[in-house]
Symmetry: C2
Subunit: 299 residues, 2 copies
């Protein structure tokens, strides 16, 4: 499919793309640009033919596929090097979690001779780093590819994601940033906020809450252990939509509070039953499995 792939930033997602690409023989050569020495040690274990680059210089002029997988706040530092050294036959993509900002950035800073078509694979975990990467991370998961004028390269990008196992859907960045403010950004913020609230409660009440976290708090703590740089970038870059989502959430929570204050059985129960419908839709769409969760096996 390609001659020379370059992965810029090789953490959980970058190294999973690397592993999947090697496994599916997506390219002849595999280049990685990564700064962290710890990460480099892990990456070297994956495969001997991986070429580690210390600089983004003229060694990248023959790269035909670049995947940017650094935190989003690093993208603007990467672009000047791509502008200087990449050829116009190359294809660039990224795996950032918000898209309006990246779209603006590439319109403003990327050389007009280069093609950057955005991607967003919907996969990940609360852990970070190449140690946790997996070649099967993308299998049966959605990958969103963003519409581009260059339909030949767009097709090439879609085929790449399909080849490593993704289900691909084409979307517009405005729609994307709205949808993910609700399905991903708000849930993560809520998890962080719940843990903060438990910490504050523990401080004020001097009661040991962590010890009894198995009743619900535990599941949120896992989500709230996600990478802080990644999530700061997401919250800041999707500020407008995230704030709208927070406002809608607070409005609904105040209404729940009123139902509880008034012991409004009918309204409260209707809301609680309604949630089950969403769960059923999620199961029908195979976004989760129906197997009940009793807490993971601690024995």
């Amino acid at each position: 499919m390609f001659k020379n792939i370059l992965i810029v930033g090789c953490g959980l997602i970058g190294s999973s793309i690397l592993r999947a690409s090697i496994n599916k023989k997506i390219s002849k050569n595999f280049f990685v640009y990564e700064k962290s020495k710890k990460n480099i040690r892990e990456i070297k274990k994956i495969n001997k033919k991986i070429i580690i680059l210390k600089k983004l210089d003229n060694k990248i002029s023959d790269i035909d596929f670049v995947i940017i997988a650094t935190p989003m706040s690093q993208y603007e530092r990467v672009i000047p090097h791509l502008n200087k050294h990449l050829s116009e036959k190359s294809l660039i993509t990224d795996v950032g979690s918000t898209k309006e900002n990246i779209s603006k950035l590439k319109n403003n800073s990327l050389s007009k001779s280069l093609d950057w078509i955005m991607s967003h694979p919907i996969s990940g975990s609360e852990v970070s780093g190449p140690k946790y990467g997996s070649r099967s991370l993308f299998i049966n998961k959605w990958c969103i590819v963003f519409s581009d004028k260059n339909k030949i390269k767009q097709k090439k990008l879609v085929n790449f994601w399909k080849k490593i196992g993704s289900k691909v859907i084409i979307m517009d960045e405005k729609v994307h940033d709205k949808i993910f403010s609700i399905t991903s950004h708000l849930p993560h913020l809520i998890a962080y906020n719940l843990i903060k609230t438990a910490q504050d409660f523990q401080k004020i009440q001097k009661k040991d809450v962590i010890k009894f976290s198995a009743g619900g708090l535990r599941d949120f703590s896992r989500i709230a252990a996600s990478n802080e740089i990644m999530w700061r970038d997401i919250f800041f870059n999707n500020k407008k939509n995230v704030i709208n989502a927070i406002n809608l959430f607070i409005k609904n929570l105040k209404s729940f509070k009123k139902n509880i204050e008034n012991l409004d059985d009918k309204t409260l129960r209707k809301k609680l039953v309604n949630s089950k419908k969403v769960r059923q839709q999620i199961l029908n769409l195979k976004q989760d499995i129906a197997k009940p969760d009793f807490g993971r096996d601690l024995n």
Copy 2:
């Protein structure tokens, strides 16, 4: 340990106690009082020696251990039968999720000759019914037993829970209801509220959010599929503490919102990093395992 155990209400928790008790030979005879015909069919499959009662009448006069495992809103209907038919040598417990209300109820309605010592096993799931019960549900999980004047019977109750695998801790009901408002009741309410917010968003924006729920929303939808009767009872019975928890949560969320609005990198990142400490405490206390979660295997 006992001659005749009676389980009143034999759903997920009741049937798990039943299974564990049979397995550990806790009693000579096993009685179950259950109204749902569907549940009775499931319970009969567990073991042939289980005796199903259709009424709480003079057949229960020889029961020496009663476990009430109905929704809490049913307790007041059960008590008159216990008053009428149980003997003073018996021991009563319950598995309700809030305790100040149950403490009041038994002080007001239970015959003074009977002993009811409260329990709260910290285990469960989003599923309901005896079909999902398991004899190992309580193994290595906390069970809270509430202090009582009758220390002999209290010891007996503690030994019962230990025998079926629980780690037991003695607590006061006021402290319990405060702690669990934060570790369990608030997280469940937040999950319900997040799903409600996603539904509202989908209605307003006419965008398909459920399809892309793998990025965070999915995990909350599981929790929000929990039994609505059980959770209505909890929210109503622990109203004061739950409302305090909601208020603290909203205060913190508004502060997060301000940090995002102001792009306040330092404060936001400090909060995000702090959450990881709680996660580490939860892992150290063996309330969860460190294995990363990439979404459950959908293949």
